[in-house]
């Protein structure tokens, strides 16, 4: 059994924070369990809530290699796991003089091309790598079934060669945007965590980390505005990535406090659907802004 990289959940959370990733309690616990129990972590959530980012951050934190498999429709074994180098095999066949032995020893490691899944099972000098299987909902169901063997036994069966098993299992993080449901058999093998939009405190902490130039007052306004916006029944609510983008955009525009005109002209950073933009822009944005100012004043009053 490997040693645990972290002693407690709190230590993991603190280390992530040092690297600039602020994780909620739920995410830290799931991640801690996945690391301690050597089981995959399945992250589901809306776009732009930091699912992919956590894998990158973990790789940096543990100083491991990051192997990324971006899923797409039609992804098959040849692109995900391994492939035989047929061209090289052909050259080999033709270079052999003796006809009888031409077809011998053609399916050996020499002719094997490793793709991300197989690569993740190999030994790495920095310890077991981090395998990020990104947006698995974009791959077909057949690919999920293929993953089952790999994720429960940490091995891949190559018919011509045999079973390739990992001596140390990789750390696997699977993300999904939920454009379709993933089969329960796959989810069962993983620790599951739904990555939600952050609450006010968490989002403030994230902004303080990612857009410190904005200043506390503007950050407060931005966070309050986005939080209210998320309750508005939009087609696509803004994620954390959008909040950070917006804060940085406002800093670029030398904005020190939100005003209706500024909000209208930068709305495209926050909302990505025309229906949503036309609903919020103008009077609705002004109403939300008034609400934001009122709630900030009341929270300051209560603190005094």
């Amino acid at each position: 059994m490997l040693e645990r990289p972290f002693e407690t959940v709190g230590m993991l959370q603190a280390d992530l924070r040092d690297r600039g990733y602020i994780a909620s309690d739920g995410l830290s616990v799931s991640l801690f369990l996945a690391l301690a129990k050597h089981r995959p972590l399945f992250l589901e959530g809306e776009a732009g809530v930091g699912k992919t980012e956590i894998a990158k951050m973990l790789a940096r934190l543990l100083k491991r290699d990051l192997i990324r498999l971006q899923c797409y429709e039609g992804l098959d074994i040849a692109q995900a796991a391994y492939e035989w180098n047929y061209a090289q095999q052909l050259v080999e066949i033709q270079s052999r003089r003796d006809v009888a032995s031409r077809a011998e020893n053609l399916f050996t490691e020499k002719f094997l091309i490793e793709r991300p899944l197989l690569k993740a099972l190999r030994n790495h000098p920095n310890g077991p790598p981090i395998l990020l299987i990104d947006e698995i909902d974009r791959a077909d169901e057949a690919f999920e079934a293929y993953l089952l063997e790999m994720l429960s036994d940490w091995q891949i069966t190559i018919p011509e060669l045999g079973v390739i098993a990992a001596s140390e299992p990789p750390i696997v993080i699977i993300t999904s945007n939920r454009t379709r449901e993933i089969h329960d058999a796959l989810k069962r093998r993983c620790f599951y965590h739904w990555v939600d939009y952050p609450d006010r405190e968490l989002e403030m902490a994230i902004l303080a980390e990612k857009a410190p130039e904005a200043g506390v007052d503007l950050q407060k306004q931005i966070v309050e505005f986005v939080q209210i916006l998320r309750q508005q029944n939009l087609f696509k609510s803004p994620g954390v990535a959008e909040t950070i983008d917006w804060a940085q955009a406002l800093v670029e525009l030398n904005c020190v406090a939100l005003d209706p005109q500024m909000i209208d002209s930068t709305m495209g950073v926050l909302l990505k659907y025309q229906d949503d933009i036309s609903r919020i822009q103008g009077s609705e944005a002004a109403r939300i802004l008034a609400e934001v100012q009122a709630s900030i004043i009341s929270s300051e009053m209560s603190r005094q």
Binding site: L33, K37, E73, E141
Partner: protein, 436 residues
């Protein structure tokens, strides 16, 4: 790690009790409908041992990461967690309720009663055949054949209980084929398509270096089918039959997603996956609270478009909308009609094909006079009746060709709807004079 056994626990009086309590908690979760298997339960105990029980939030998330598999279960889990782990009295009550179970697991009393009822139904129907009288058997056989013919074209609304049951049973024998679409993957092909260099080389290395031509074409796969079925009061007679129809489709294809809507929208896909049709319908009727109420088609579609369309319409799905199109908004409520118009248009644009199944079409003199029907008609690709077994089997037969040809009848209906709209629209002077 997953060797299937609970890891060695430190011997203490508290910890063994904890895993008993987790087991009780898991049973409670199953009772309220969360799909938690034994492996997840063992995993949860293990997880709690790993993260410790000192911090409540960490304890909560430790359990959650193993026991929740779908985001929609989070709320139920939350409530169960707070009830169970914060109130010792409740824990005891659950223990009393769940531990001394002698019943068949998974069945509660209602189910058991329903099973008994069905069992007795079966026993009553299957009277042993009378031996001897051969002529009688002959007459019976011919009667059955003509019965079947009558049943084929009979309106579901006019059917007796027995006939309805026979109709529902015959749904199971439907063999629907979903429309196909080209997928991104390749499959080997005999003599047409692209040259498959890789396969050719692969077989060459097995054939002593002889390279023979190989071909490949794109695979096809069934388009997902999404069914939106109205269960409001005006559809009452049809909704049960429709559930059996949806069940038959779901059994044949995993890519069928189904929703019921009345006053609210309910996803019934998981219930419909149940092998037994009657039990599946039973599960649904427990799940859905708004049978035979009113309906607001527009707001239901809005909800579907916002919450589900991106998840279930992503891969070129066909949509089947089963409704009579009679909205319960008061006539002349323009904003509701505008909403219906907008949401229908959006649904139409995000689906590959939108098919409207309407029981009202059974009437020969049906005319699209209702404002809501006039609003919806321009946004569909097909408009077909669904009142009898015959019309259902026509739909099933035509399913494979969906999207391949344009419906002639539809353009007639749309023309009729436009004409009707002209004569009934309030801003038309003639109509106003007539009303006053």
């Amino acid at each position: 790690m997953n060797d299937g056994a609970v890891p060695d626990l430190p011997s203490g009086a508290f910890l063994p009790k904890l895993d008993q309590n987790i087991m009780l908690f898991v049973r409670l979760l199953r009772r309220i409908g969360l799909p938690v298997g034994p492996a997840s339960m063992v995993g949860a105990v293990d997880a709690v041992m790993t993260v410790g029980v000192a911090n409540k939030s960490i304890f909560y998330h430790g359990l959650a990461s193993c026991l929740i598999k779908r985001p929609e279960d989070r709320k139920l889990f939350d409530q169960a967690f707070h009830l169970f782990w914060q109130n010792p009295k409740f824990m005891e009550r659950v223990r009393d309720l769940l531990l001394p179970q002698i019943k068949v697991p998974g069945l509660d009393t209602d189910d058991a009663e329903e099973m008994l009822r069905r069992l007795s139904d079966v026993l009553a129907d299957r009277s042993p055949p009378q031996a001897g009288d051969e002529t009688k058997i002959e007459i019976d056989a011919s009667a059955t054949a003509s019965d079947r013919a009558v049943l084929q074209s009979k309106d579901f609304e006019m059917m007796s209980g027995d006939e309805l049951r026979a109709a529902m049973a015959s749904m199971a024998s439907l063999t629907p084929r979903l429309p196909q679409r080209r997928a991104r993957r390749w499959r080997p092909s005999q003599n047409r398509g692209q040259v498959a260099i890789r396969t050719a080389l692969q077989s060459a290395s097995r054939q002593f270096g002889m390279v023979l031509p190989h071909f490949r074409t794109r695979q096809t796969k069934p388009r997902p089918l999404v069914i939106l079925c109205d269960i409001s009061g005006s559809m009452e007679q049809y909704s049960r039959v429709m559930l059996h129809f949806i069940h038959a489709l779901t059994q044949h294809h995993p890519a069928v997603t189904s929703f019921l809507f009345g006053t609210q929208l309910t996803n019934i896909t998981r219930q419909m996956r149940h092998r037994d049709g009657d039990e599946a319908v039973q599960l649904v009727s427990k799940l859905v609270a708004d049978w035979s109420g009113g309906t607001l088609i527009g707001s239901n579609l809005a909800l579907f478009n916002r919450q589900w369309s991106r998840r279930v319409l992503a891969q070129g799905a066909t949509v089947m909308l089963i409704t009579d199109g009679l909205d319960c908004t008061p006539d002349g409520d323009v904003s509701a009609l505008e909403m219906l118009d907008f949401e229908m248009e959006r649904l139409h644009k995000s689906a590959y094909n939108l098919m409207w199944l309407n029981p009202l079409l059974r009437f020969d003199g049906f005319a699209p006079k209702s404002r809501s029907i006039q609003t919806m008609l321009p946004h569909v690709d097909d408009f077909v009746p669904m009142h009898s077994l015959q019309s259902i089997s026509d739909i099933v037969d035509g399913l494979q060709m969906v999207g391949k040809r344009r419906s002639h009848k539809l353009s007639l209906w749309q023309q009729l709807a436009r004409d009707a709209a002209l004569t009934t629209r309030p801003d038309n002077g003639y109509a106003q004079i007539k009303r006053t």
